[in-house]
Symmetry: C2
Amino acid sequence: MQAPDALRALVESYLSELALTPELGGLAEPIRYALGGKRVRPTICLATAEAAGGTVEAALPAAAALELVHSFSLVHDDLPAMDDDDERRGRPTLHVVYGEGVALLAGDALLAEAFRLALSYPAASPARELAQATLGMIGGQYLDITGADADLAELHRLKTGRLFAASVGLGLWAADVPEPEQAPWRSFGDELGLLFQIADDVLDGDGYAARLGEQAALGLVREAAERARAALSAIDADTSVLLAIVDELAVRTV
Amino acid sequence: MQAPDALRALVESYLSELALTPELGGLAEPIRYALGGKRVRPTICLATAEAAGGTVEAALPAAAALELVHSFSLVHDDLPAMDDDDERRGRPTLHVVYGEGVALLAGDALLAEAFRLALSYPAASPARELAQATLGMIGGQYLDITGADADLAELHRLKTGRLFAASVGLGLWAADVPEPEQAPWRSFGDELGLLFQIADDVLDGDGYAARLGEQAALGLVREAAERARAALSAIDADTSVLLAIVDELAVRTV
């Protein structure tokens, strides 16, 4: 069992060596620029695969696919037509550096490359789950830009939660866990997105933190972390690395 | 064997009844608005499947997936950051009606829905081919917006040709044609995109027509149609409907 930091390093190395489709040509540079991040989703995917009896190596393409879908959503979210953000992770956003047209295409390419990676498995299940999660996420982005009075829980379940749940799901497929045995793992995956999102809101002072106040939001973080730990304890496997990831996600706010 | 018009009607009916992912919510309306068009690619897909011994019914999800990828590319191409087109097919473009943010998300959703459809087959081959073709197409769009002196043939091979070739390819997968038997069909598919694109340039007075003059471009249309017919004649099957489609594509310019 490898610790979260070791898994993150493997993701980093896999992404830096990832061969993009040659026909993308010069678009490869902005695509790689967009691939910065904390690797939260791929790390969950790898840790799930290893806990479920699979290998990290077999799960790396799925893990990378999740990170590419996440990056695609950020690149398009940052565009002037959406959130109009000039900076992300302390650097100018993609469209500021390369222009809006290139950023639009780089986002499109990230999504298509994610499917190419998810389709590198013999079975279609990982790509199917990625498609459903991506569609749910886009539904959440639509609520975010149009629904002034949108239900915050439903918005986060779609916009953040679907891809976190799929991070567990793709880890299970990569480890060849049969569908009838996936339920307890998926209960865990369903808790992760909310945990991450509320903690994020506390750090940023928006969303749940703005609506409920910081102390109440911190209470929700603790509750979500408790539910995630309880879900893990119901799984008959060594889930210690996933437990460490839950602790990391929750402790960010302390 | 059904004629092109009958196949187009089946595509039309399939698309109008297509159940979109419920979580897309209100985004379904702009997505459906974007789905107007001549159905050239899905018709080629269905005709290929039927000529290769498959059923039209089995090929309809693949055919629809191709149309959704095509529509996704148009919606994003029309955005102000790209071609900035206000009108398409005699109607205001999506972003003019629904705003840029919604158009961006509708395009994203069209691409993800296309993969969901291509992934409705037991095997991953149709979705794999769709991913490769989409990435080639995006590479072509990148050349189009950045490469002032781009090789026109290479640009069209990517931007238009890849999805036309995949229209034949997905028809073959839907008809369960084994890969070793696909080569003659694929030679045909490789000719279609160029035929369509030059004819389009003649109709619009741009691209090849602008660069070479209308008469020279019309000569290229005739040559491309001849190569497509020759490729068909090398296939040991009743390819009469595909021949009719070639004639339709070529005759548009007369």
